[in-house]
């Protein structure tokens, strides 16, 4: 059975190491990239069903990548994950079309809830 592909883009190695395993445990395929450029350069852009995207990164930021993808007509649902945001950050991101915005560190429950909202599932644990 073909699983949905969730791509993780974060400059922090801890996140890149930990999230893909959890995503696989949740029944998704997962890939991790250290930067937006790395992701764009990979062949995964067209296959990705959902992005777990860090906001603040060296080089291209999360929102920069979002704009870039919109320009390319790649309408991939985005769940932002941020380590330094405040409440206004989430509101801003949702307003700009993000599916969700999670503050690090987030629980697996919060992640599941966000993914469910993207993939239209309920109680998928």
């Amino acid at each position: 059975m073909a699983h949905s592909l969730v791509s993780v883009i974060d400059d922090d190695v801890s996140v890149r190491e930990s999230l893909p395993d959890l995503l696989r445990m949740l029944g998704y395929d997962a890939e991790a990239f250290a930067s937006a450029d790395e992701f764009l350069a990979s062949g995964s852009v067209g296959q990705t069903d959902c992005l777990l995207l860090d906001i603040a990164m060296p080089g291209m930021s999360g929102p920069d990548l979002q704009s870039e993808l919109t320009l390319k007509g790649q309408d991939i649902p985005i769940i932002y994950i941020t380590g330094c945001g405040d409440t206004t950050t989430r509101v801003r991101m949702l307003k700009n079309g993000a599916a969700e915005c999670l503050y690090k560190p987030f629980s697996d429950g919060a992640l599941v809830k966000a993914l469910n909202s993207v993939f239209g599932k309920r109680n998928n644990s």
């Binding site: 930990s18 959890l22 690090k104 560190p105």
Partner: protein
């Protein structure tokens, strides 16, 4: 013919007989005739009356005695002209000092000493009778009417012949006789007295003239003095009136108090400012209207003024108006010298600065709010940075732990995967701990600069920064700098934070002090061989010896609104410099806080993490 004609007469210089065959002396002298002629009867009564009149004249009007004498001679001898010739002081001429009768107009004229009848009389020192002397002395031909006969008698002063007294007959019928000679000789004796009188009068006149001249210059001086006095008075009056106008109409308050501080006068601007009338103020002293917080300081300044220790002083203080409202005023107080040169009053120029103060305070509040906001912003920035740094590994830890649990809960459990994620959890935990270590590093030596510090200069900068606050708190700062102070290795900014903290503590400790001058002494000294020592001495409330050992503990405070971090942070800074922060009660009121720092050869490392450095960490992150 005028008498000026005589002055123009060419006067022979000797008694040589002129070449034109002028008559000899003998031909004009007929003295012997006097005794040959029948002598008329003496008129003793007339003579006595004349002499009596002369004596009276001598007493009453001595300056005209010679003329009176001539008049009397004319009268007594029934001559046509009569007069007196006096030898000039240089002895070269005779001048006609007084003339009565027909020759009256010739008064002031005269004859040469050696070529004239008077000279002849004086040479022979006998009375002589001349007839038509113009035959021998042609210049006398100009003196009209011509003399038919002239009788001359010499008179003497102190045995010296000084002149002649004479009578002239212009009428050929009038012949002088022995009685005339006797009368003229009698009058001649009187002439001597008259002459001396006149002479002394002349001397007196000279003296008087000199005295008058002196008096005149004195009068002039006095006049000019008087003028000066007048001008000065006018000036004073003007300045007084000007002063009065200024006093009354000035928009600035002006008040004068006596030595006891009681109001003596107050202009209307001051009355408006303070709400009391001048009459009400006269019942008060300046202390009464001064707000309690400012009284002691104001009184001490006034005392120094009255003791002559200062010429004037300025004070910004609060005053209580009659309606109870507090106003801010700026006073410039100086002494008013009294008439005796001793000052009895102090004059104060008073300006209402309430508005300025309100603006200043609102500015200060704004600044305080801004600086507080900046602190909060800095703290927020810092905490965000720290959060970001820590949230990454924490995120990994939580995600890994969740994954681990899910792997263990799976059927069958994925123990290999669980082990793998558990190992990653440990690794993320170590990463978090590395972040903490990195933060610690940022808080410490990387960011702390050690440099050569001139303690005096550092103190000066702190004083410059706090001077407005110290002034506001009415602290009299006294500085004593050692001029042989060695430089020390250290962090100048941190040391200045300590100094600032000590200054503010000292100032705060004196805020309740109103019965003495709020004196603050800051002193630098050499410590041991090559270290430095700084002390800050106040006359404030001091500290309870029981709490002395807790003074430097974090969050220990004796101040209302104090955080209790200043001294503990200060102590850690000083200890990082290898020094010691200390406190000691004064013998008198107040306490002395200070530190000593020894000279250090090696660079100092600053290990402890303290809140004072938050801002530098924030920018570094």
């Amino acid at each position: 013919m005028t008498d000026s004609a005589y002055a123009e007469c060419p006067l022979p210089l000797d008694n040589s007989i002129p070449d034109d065959g002028a008559a000899s002396l003998d031909s004009i002298v007929c003295t012997d005739e006097l005794h040959k002629r029948p002598s008329r009867e003496p008129e003793h009564q007339k003579e006595n009356a004349a002499l009596a009149a002369l004596v009276v004249a001598l007493a009453d009007s001595p300056s005209t005695i010679l003329q009176t004498l001539a008049d009397k001679v004319l009268d007594v001898l029934s001559a046509d002209s009569a007069g007196l010739s006096l030898l000039t002081k240089d002895g070269k001429r005779f001048y006609w000092a007084a003339i009565a009768g027909a020759w009256g107009p010739h008064i002031g004229g005269g004859t040469p000493r050696n070529f004239g009848p008077c000279g002849d009389v004086l040479d022979r020192n006998i009375p002589m009778l001349f007839t038509h002397w113009e035959w021998r002395y042609p210049y006398l031909g100009a003196a009209l009417p011509l003399a038919e006969e002239g009788l001359l008698v010499p008179f003497h002063v102190n045995g010296r012949a000084v002149g002649t007294i004479w009578a002239i007959a212009h009428n050929v019928e009038r012949k002088f006789d022995a009685e005339d000679l006797r009368l003229l000789q009698s009058m001649g004796r009187f002439a001597s007295v008259a002459y001396q009188t006149v002479e002394s009068i002349e001397e007196l006149k000279l003296e008087v003239a000199a005295r008058e001249k002196a008096e005149a210059s004195l009068r002039e001086l006095a006049g000019s003095l008087e003028q000066q006095v007048l001008a000065r008075t006018e000036q004073l009056r003007f300045s007084e009136s000007r002063w009065k106008r200024i006093f009354d109409n000035s928009a600035i308050g002006i008040a004068a108090v006596d030595r006891n501080g009681r109001f003596e006068m107050a202009n209307s601007a001051f009355q408006r400012m303070i709400g009391f009338t001048e009459e009400e103020l006269k019942e008060k002293s300046y202390i009464d209207i001064t707000a309690p917080d400012f009284r002691a300081f104001n009184v001490s300044l006034m005392a120094e003024l009255l003791e002559g220790k200062r010429d004037q002083f300025n004070i910004e203080k609060q005053c209580r108006r009659k309606d109870g409202r507090l106003i801010w005023v700026r006073n410039n107080v100086s002494l008013l010298p009294g008439a005796d040169g001793v000052p009895h009053n102090a004059m104060s120029i008073v300006e209402d600065i309430s508005e300025r103060k309100a603006a200043e305070e609102s500015l200060q509040q704004t600044q305080a709010r801004l600086s507080h906001a900046a602190e909060i912003a800095t703290a927020a920035e810092l905490s965000a940075s720290i959060a970001h740094e820590l949230n990454q590994p924490l995120s990994g830890i939580i995600t890994n732990a969740s994954t681990c649990l899910r792997m263990l809960d799976a059927d069958p459990p994925n123990t290999d995967g669980a082990r793998e994620t558990a190992l990653r959890t440990i690794r993320d935990g170590n990463r978090a701990s590395e972040v903490i270590a990195r933060l610690r590093a940022l808080f410490s030596k990387k960011n702390v600069k050690s440099e050569c510090v001139d303690l005096n200069e550092a103190v000066r900068e702190v004083i410059a920064l706090s001077s407005s606050r110290l002034r506001k708190d009415q602290v009299a700062l006294q500085v004593s700098f050692a001029n042989d102070l060695p430089y020390i290795n250290g962090n100048r900014v941190q040391l200045q934070q300590v100094i600032l903290n000590l200054l503010q503590n000292a100032s705060d400790a004196m805020s309740a002090v109103n019965d003495r001058r709020r004196r603050l002494v800051i002193r630098t000294e050499r410590h041991e061989h090559d270290g430095v020592r700084l002390s800050v001495q106040d006359v404030g409330v001091g500290f309870d010896p029981d709490v002395a050992n807790r003074l430097f503990e974090t969050f220990f405070t004796t101040k209302n609104g104090g955080m209790g971090v200043g001294l503990s942070v200060s102590r850690s800074i000083i200890e990082d410099h290898g020094g010691r922060l200390w406190a000691a009660p004064n013998k008198g009121p107040g306490a002395t806080f200070g530190f000593c720092i020894p000279q250090q050869t090696a660079d100092i490392t600053f290990e402890s993490m303290r809140p004072l450095e938050l801002s530098s960490v924030a920018t570094a992150l």
